[in-house]
């Protein structure tokens, strides 16, 4: 007897600040104008996606002391865009990445609770920590939070926000005109939190929202990040959209749930994934090559190499061989404001490995960056892509995907029109929204139904 098929979760990531987006394509529109967000959100909702996702970065990236100018630069404010999108959509979940280091719990909890009210229960919070003094220079706190305190602040921030969300139970507002009782309880919203990072008390001033709490996402991959997710998140935004790496990550994270008294279904794994579609598999492969070359110009390739070499490589020819000089190993990095920098923990070893790869394959600098850099995850005809996505999900490489198209804002249209119907035919993706809230779409219980196991466990 075969297992029933898992239902796939799909979400749409509005392309952000990185070289995934081919801004030079004539079909590329604005990353800022609201009409782009409306188009994107409506496409996602037409396709019955679970939610729309926005990333965040709170300082413009720099390379060699100058603002990085080769990729899309600039983005609007997350809360503002999501609240406005709530007006032009009815079902689509609205997920915002909000940093726990450069915000305060009272304000962020108010914003998410407000978004949940104003969207009728569709809000989600991707909690990120991304600490660096560089970004801190834009904020009151400054860059003074020691790195090891990132996750401890994030954990306490989230726990505090939950205390604020839970400080209203949902039945306090009577608004009884006859008796003149607006509030059942003068203490509605009362809270006291004493901890290592926050010592706050008073009254939260937003009544309980439709979802009780926003859905919580986590997006960090370290040991601490995985534990944080297992203890406290409803979903993970991960980077493992390839089959074997995805399965390993999935197993690892899901196996951590038991110790927090949580069930297998209480944490969804949703990697970021890109796609390139063609009428045939061959056509899609050709198109994918073109997209890669558009994403990685010669100039971009040199800049990417600088992440590892940590030195100015502008004198090199991107169509020529890799530099024969070695990377500079230093605390100071040529690139600032990029999370990926941490991927290059041993630059000397990476450089050695890349030189060997390039020599063996006769790759130029640009070829190397194209071949080793961000890969497109799903390339092929709509049938191939639909089948592959389903295979990945059924094999527990993920519970679905957060798709990042390479064209803004129309890059999702072809997926919505051609791939989604096939997934629906296979019976693995909804044809209509069954509930109204994001928790409904994701199959997550309302926090009032699961009780306080999360807090009790931590």
């Amino acid at each position: 007897m075969s297992k029933p098929l898992k239902q796939i979760h799909l979400a749409a990531h509005f392309p952000g600040v990185n070289n995934t987006t081919v801004w030079s394509d004539p079909k590329a529109g604005s990353h800022i104008e609201f009409s782009s967000f409306v188009h994107f959100a409506r496409t996602a909702e037409r396709a019955k996606f679970d939610f729309l996702f926005l990333a965040e970065g709170l300082r413009l990236r720099e390379q060699g002391g100058q603002i990085y100018d080769l990729d899309v630069v600039g983005r609007p404010d997350t809360f503002t865009v999501l609240a406005a999108l709530a007006a032009v959509t009815e079902h689509l979940g609205l997920t915002g990445t909000i940093n726990s280091t450069f915000n305060e719990p009272y304000e962020v909890a108010r914003q998410f609770a407000s978004l949940d009210h104003l969207s009728g229960g569709r809000s989600a919070w991707n909690v990120v920590t991304s600490w660096d003094a560089f970004t801190g220079e834009n904020f009151r706190r400054g860059g003074f939070l020691p790195q090891e305190e990132r996750y401890s602040r994030a954990k306490e921030f989230l726990a505090t926000a939950h205390e604020l969300f839970d400080s209203w139970h949902g039945d306090e507002i009577l608004a009884d005109r006859e008796t003149g009782t607006f509030l059942r309880d003068a203490k509605a919203g009362a809270f006291v939190h004493t901890g290592q990072h926050f010592d706050i008390h008073g009254q939260f001033n937003v009544p309980r929202s439709p979802q009780g709490r926003p859905v919580i996402f986590q997006a960090g991959d370290s040991e601490e990040g995985r534990e944080f997710a297992a203890s406290s998140a409803d979903a993970i935004f991960s980077r493992y959209a390839a089959l074997e790496a995805g399965r390993a990550f999935y197993q690892d994270v899901k196996s951590r749930l038991a110790k927090y008294g949580r069930g297998h279904d209480q944490l969804l794994i949703l990697p970021a994934a890109s796609f390139v579609l063609g009428d045939t598999d061959d056509e899609a492969q050709e198109l994918a090559k073109e997209v890669r070359r558009a994403q990685v110009s010669g100039a971009t390739a040199l800049k990417h190499l600088e992440f590892v070499w940590n030195r100015d490589l502008s004198a090199y020819d991107p169509e020529g061989p890799l530099p024969d000089v070695d990377p500079v190993v230093s605390e100071e990095h040529i690139s600032r404001g990029r999370a990926q920098v941490r991927m290059y923990r041993d630059p000397l070893a990476t450089a050695r490995e890349w030189r060997e790869l390039a020599a063996a394959n006769k790759w130029s600098i640009r070829d190397l960056v194209i071949e080793t850099g961000n890969r497109q995850n799903f390339i092929g005809s709509p049938a191939t892509v639909a089948r592959t996505i389903n295979d990945f999900v059924q094999a527990d490489a993920s519970d679905g995907f957060i798709l990042v198209p390479h064209i803004t804002p129309g890059g999702l249209d072809v997926f919505a029109d051609q791939v989604v119907p096939l997934l629906q035919e296979q019976g693995v993706f909804r044809t209509e929204y069954e509930g109204r809230t994001l928790r409904d779409h994701l199959g997550l219980a309302h926090p009032d139904q699961i009780g306080d196991d999360r807090r009790a466990a931590s």
Binding site: W23, S24, I32, E33, F34, V38, L58, R59, L60, Q66, I67, D69, D71, V72, V73, G74, P76, D77, F79, T80, V81, A83, A84, A87, N103, E104, Y106, E107, R110, Q111, A113, S114, H117, L118, S119, G120, E137, N138, F139, R140, W168, I173, A175, R177, G180, T181, F182, L183, A186, A188, D199, I200, H201, G202, Q203, N205, V206, P207, G298, A299
Partner: protein, 403 residues
């Protein structure tokens, strides 16, 4: 063709819960159970837009409302709780086309970097209709919600100790606004070049570090959000005293004052103009709006009766920092014209009961003003700056860069 006579006055409404009278939620026209829904706010703002108002402000606070000046109370007979004003404004922006959206922003506990990009984005989602109303808070209980500073306890706003605390908070607010404004200018308008030939998305020479160093914060910049459609969205502030008048004079596009009669209005405008001169901004347009609470009905007795009924429900007469007007639309129009003559360029009306007095403004007062030829008959501009007769400002950094 402009349908607005040059003598035209401006009108805004201040939205706060079910209205400004603490018992307003008990009126038949109030919708107290819907205060936390988008539909409620959408209905109010579209009603204001139907009346061709310049803008709405949306009140906010970082703690529960209270009948005490500086502390929380324990009352259960008044509206408590509210949604974030910037999010409300954003939520209604796509549902409206002309009216300005001016949420309250509390400078005391927020990050100017976040506020700057939020209001810039409100300007994008509304196609040029955003503003903010900056406010300080001296409430110790609100400081306790953040836990990163203590605000010295004061007993009233007019003691010397209070003056020191409030001056400090207003200085910080001035810095806050300065940072927000510099961040709005930190991208030149044409910074996005998408130059395929060189592979550059932006011209980084048109992005500027703001390098602000102040007593309460320092901010590097540039913003992550490009310069908003209006260049500089509207900054506004309510002011009752010299220190806040100075903030208005130095930093605002619109100041709200609370005169009780024509003479006081004239005096307040003079004080603000003097501060404006002192700040070297004499040549810049600065609107001074009068704030009034309004009970509007078809006959004066009905308005008075309604006010008395609400006062009885509240258990005490309603008092306000602003003049409380009770009467008919023609009477209010007379008063507004007199105050307009004393130098106020517009008014921010605070409906005592939102569900009653807002439609009375849009369907009673506005037609009355139109009949008198002192109010627009159609929206004449696409942006809030345009409605207020303010030009789109040049970018401060572009000027220095080309010098």
């Amino acid at each position: 063709m402009s349908s607005t006579p040059s003598s035209s006055l401006h009108l805004a409404v201040a939205l706060d819960g079910t209205g400004w009278h603490p018992a307003s939620w008990r009126e038949p026209a109030a919708r107290p159970r819907e205060l936390f829904t988008a539909a409620y706010w959408a209905d109010l703002v579209t009603e204001a837009e139907r009346g061709l108002l310049d803008f709405v402000t949306i009140e906010d606070g970082l703690g529960p409302q209270s009948s005490h000046f500086l502390d929380a109370d324990e009352r259960t007979d008044q509206v408590r709780g509210r949604l974030d004003a910037v999010l409300i404004a954003s939520r209604v922006a796509p549902l409206t086309r002309h009216i300005g959206l001016v949420p309250t922003v509390v400078s005391t506990h927020t990050e100017p970097f976040h506020i700057s990009k939020a209001i810039a984005t409100l300007d994008y989602v509304s196609n040029g209709r955003a503003g903010l109303r900056v406010q300080i808070t001296a409430r110790p209980n609100e400081a306790d919600h953040f836990g990163r500073r203590t605000i010295p306890r004061i007993d009233a706003y007019d003691s010397p100790a209070a003056r020191e605390v409030v001056t400090d908070l207003f200085d910080e607010a001035a810095d806050h606004v300065e940072v927000v404004r510099r961040l709005w200018d930190s991208w030149e308008d044409d910074a996005e070049i998408r130059d395929a030939a060189t592979g550059r998305f932006i011209d980084r020479d048109k992005l500027h570090y703001i390098d602000f160093e102040g007593r309460h914060f320092s901010v590097k910049g540039p913003s992550i959000t490009p310069r908003p459609p209006q260049g500089q969205p509207i900054v506004s502030a309510l002011a009752h005293d010299t220190v806040p008048y100075r903030l208005v004079a130095r930093a605002a596009d619109v100041g709200y004052v609370t005169p009780y009669d024509v003479d006081e209005a004239r005096a307040l405008v003079a004080r603000i103009r003097a501060e404006q001169n002192a700040a070297g901004r004499a040549a810049e347009p600065l609107h001074v709006f009068g704030d009034l609470v309004v009970f509007l009905d078809d006959d004066p007795a009905a308005a008075t009766a309604r006010r008395e009924r609400l006062d009885a429900l509240a258990g005490q007469p309603y008092t306000s920092d602003a003049l409380i007007f009770t009467g008919t639309a023609p009477q209010l129009a007379d008063l507004l014209q007199d105050l307009h003559g004393a130098g106020l360029s517009g008014f921010r009306l605070r409906p005592a009961v939102a569900g009653h007095d807002l439609p009375a403004i849009t369907r009673g007062l506005v037609p009355e003003l139109q009949r008198r030829g002192v109010y627009r008959r159609a929206y004449e501009a696409g942006t809030l700056r345009g409605l207020l007769g303010l030009a789109r400002p040049a970018n401060r950094y572009a000027a220095t860069a080309t010098a």
